[in-house]
């Protein structure tokens, strides 16, 4: 079994790398008693035998995501919510929207995680044989990894923007409510331009669980504010998902929105509210317009690294500033 330099990495216990890099993690230490047949849970990696290894198509590990955050003004979005609240369905819906065309005026330029996007959509296709859309639970394995898009505004030659979406598992969010230590391990949140808190509309509509559901979400946001992972540099979004299940219980969503306004509006840089249904089961269509608007908000806004207006600057220190402000001429993906 492997051991890790990072004290909190559970790899020695359950084989899962804290940073999601598996056997490639630079923090790994070989054990002298290593069982040669031991395997580490990791995303499938191409085996470069006689050929050239291509990128895996799975969510980007931190080191791969840094390729984008280090070269320009990449937008990082953290999605949090309890188990089966609809975070992943939201991202899967975004992929479907790009399959059909541009999203809110943003054109698809590229993605390194198309394989994973297709996998997320599989159990909502006719060919899969399911009778209703299903989504597998997100594994903790992806907690510090990112789905990826590169986009460009339509009808302009504006710079491209890389969007990195960190889909954090519901189990982790649940645990993080209980312990700050779990929160601190969510490295993507500390860099997030946007944190999207997904509240399960179905849970809010259920009297038996709505108060606990709402309470846990409030506590989680409180945790990440306390740790400094989010703050004035962050735009917070409250998304009430599964709008089709919320019917008749909109008051629960209104109450949660009011709580967020009261508790958090003064502590973050922006606060937005959305009601969506990414995969409605009541025969209605997904709320694509709303999801598209939210995506446009993500791409167009960064309080962490706001775009510079170079026309007002007398000089620009190109070597020092290009990385932070994306002023270099980058090749599209």
């Amino acid at each position: 079994m492997f051991h890790c330099k990072l004290p909190d990495c559970p790899i020695a216990k359950n084989g899962r790398c804290l940073e999601g890099q598996g056997t490639d993690c630079p923090n790994l230490l070989a054990d002298d008693n290593l069982d040669a047949t031991a395997t580490v849970a990791a995303s499938p990696k191409p085996v470069a035998t006689a050929g050239i290894a291509l990128y895996s198509g799975n969510p980007l590990a931190l080191k791969d995501a840094r390729e984008f955050t280090g070269r320009g003004r990449a937008i990082v979005v953290g999605l949090v919510g309890l188990i089966e609240s609809g975070k992943t369905s939201l991202l899967a819906r975004l992929h479907r929207q790009f399959l059909a065309g541009s999203v809110s005026g943003y054109r698809f330029v590229g993605s390194k995680t198309l394989l994973r996007f297709e996998e997320l959509n599989w159990n909502a296709t006719i060919d899969s044989g399911v009778n209703a859309p299903k989504m597998d639970r997100s594994s903790r394995h992806w907690d510090n990894s990112f789905l990826h898009y590169t986009v460009r505004p339509q009808h302009t030659n504006d710079e491209i923007t890389d969007v990195l979406m960190n889909d954090i598992s519901g189990e982790t969010v649940q645990d993080a409510v209980g312990t700050q230590k779990t929160c601190n391990q969510l490295l993507g949140l500390a860099r997030a331009d946007h944190v999207v808190v997904v509240a399960d509309g179905g849970a809010l509509a259920d009297f038996a669980v709505c108060h606990d559901h709402a309470g846990k979400l409030r506590d989680f946001v409180q945790r990440i504010l306390q740790s400094g992972q989010i703050g004035k540099q962050t735009v917070l979004h409250l998304v009430v998902s599964k709008q089709d299940l919320l019917k008749g219980r909109e008051d629960a969503a209104v109450r949660l929105e009011a709580d967020f306004q009261r508790l958090f509006s003064g502590q973050v840089g922006g606060l937005h509210y959305w009601r969506v249904a990414a995969r409605p089961c009541d025969g209605t269509q997904p709320t694509e317009a709303e999801i598209a608007k939210m995506f446009a908000q993500w791409v167009s806004t960064s309080l962490r690294y706001p775009p510079m207006d170079f026309s007002t600057l007398p000089t620009v220190d190109w070597p020092r500033d290009f990385c932070r402000f994306g002023a270099s001429q980058r090749q599209p993906f």
Binding site: F98, W122, T125, D127, P332
Partner: protein, 279 residues
């Protein structure tokens, strides 16, 4: 003019119409319609694959699903432009198209494929006009939680949406390919006769790409520093199995059609001329 042929790669997923096209072009190159038309500049050393199906193609019969090429030279056509003296080599690294699906699934490039890209001047990329670009979604009235489920198919990357696989194939080329940019890509929608049946309602190939293969369209139009694209609709066989009963009475070169914008002709070498920058 240099005697070294310009290398033109054929790419596309399995069953995308690559074999039918190469047979049809082979026929045209050996029977050029005009003095200044592209013509064959000799027979490739290894034509086993082409000759195996030649009689079926000429008879207007449906070609069998192409199996993976056995070890040996990739199928290739050698041709030249009599006016400029420019020579070309149109080749398939893997006739069946499985090589591209394998790249998508296994995330690895064969070294010989990587080497073939080093000298490539253009790509003919194939997609079927009569097959969906994306997997159909279970939506609205199709959702029925009460309906008994017979067998749920587990996720297999091979079943991913066709246009997504093609975009990744192009992204791999953009990232790892060693070629002069921008690279010309002739996008061929095969089985275009199915579109032509719509008559005046039929879209142009460009419009069809925009509406039905939107992800691929976005990718190609936002990566113009890497790829320059032209879109064609092609019917290399001529029609469906039923329609071929009549069409087979015509010579192979009279069955084919190519649509370039609003222009319709039988000159399937048009994309080759464009790739060679002759037009």
């Amino acid at each position: 003019m240099s005697a070294t042929p310009q290398q033109l790669l054929i790419a596309g997923l399995a069953d995308a119409g690559k074999s039918s096209f190469i047979h049809a072009v082979d026929d045209l190159l050996h029977h050029p319609a005009a003095d200044d038309a592209l013509r064959a500049s000799g027979l490739a050393e290894d034509r086993i694959y082409l000759e195996k199906e030649k009689s079926s193609f000429r008879a207007g019969e449906e070609l069998e699903r192409t199996k993976r090429t056995p070890l040996g030279a990739p199928p290739e056509l050698l041709f030249e432009d009599p006016k400029s003296g420019l020579k070309g080599r149109l080749f398939l690294p893997d006739v069946s198209g499985e090589i591209y699906r394998d790249q998508w699934v296994d995330r690895i490039w064969d070294k010989s494929y990587a080497d073939s890209l080093k000298h490539v001047s253009g790509i003919l990329l194939f997609a079927r006009a009569d097959l969906a670009a994306s997997n159909a979604e279970l939506l609205g009235p199709l959702i029925d939680p009460e309906k008994p489920v017979e067998a749920v198919k587990e996720w297999d990357p091979r079943n991913a949406s066709s246009q997504v696989q093609l975009v990744d194939v192009l992204q791999f080329i953009a990232t790892h390919g060693d070629f002069a940019r921008p690279l010309r890509v002739g996008l061929i929608f095969s089985a275009w006769d199915t579109m032509a049946k719509m008559g005046e309602q039929a879209p142009t190939p460009d419009a069809f790409l925009r509406t039905d293969w939107a992800l691929l369209d976005q990718y190609l139009s936002t990566n113009v520093d890497t790829f320059t694209t032209k879109v064609y609709g092609v019917s290399a066989l001529g029609g469906t199995r039923e329609e071929m009963r009549e069409l087979r009475k015509l010579a192979p070169s009279d069955r084919v059609k190519i649509v370039d914008g609003k222009d319709v002709s039988r000159d399937l070498t048009k994309p080759l001329r464009w790739l060679l920058k002759l037009t």
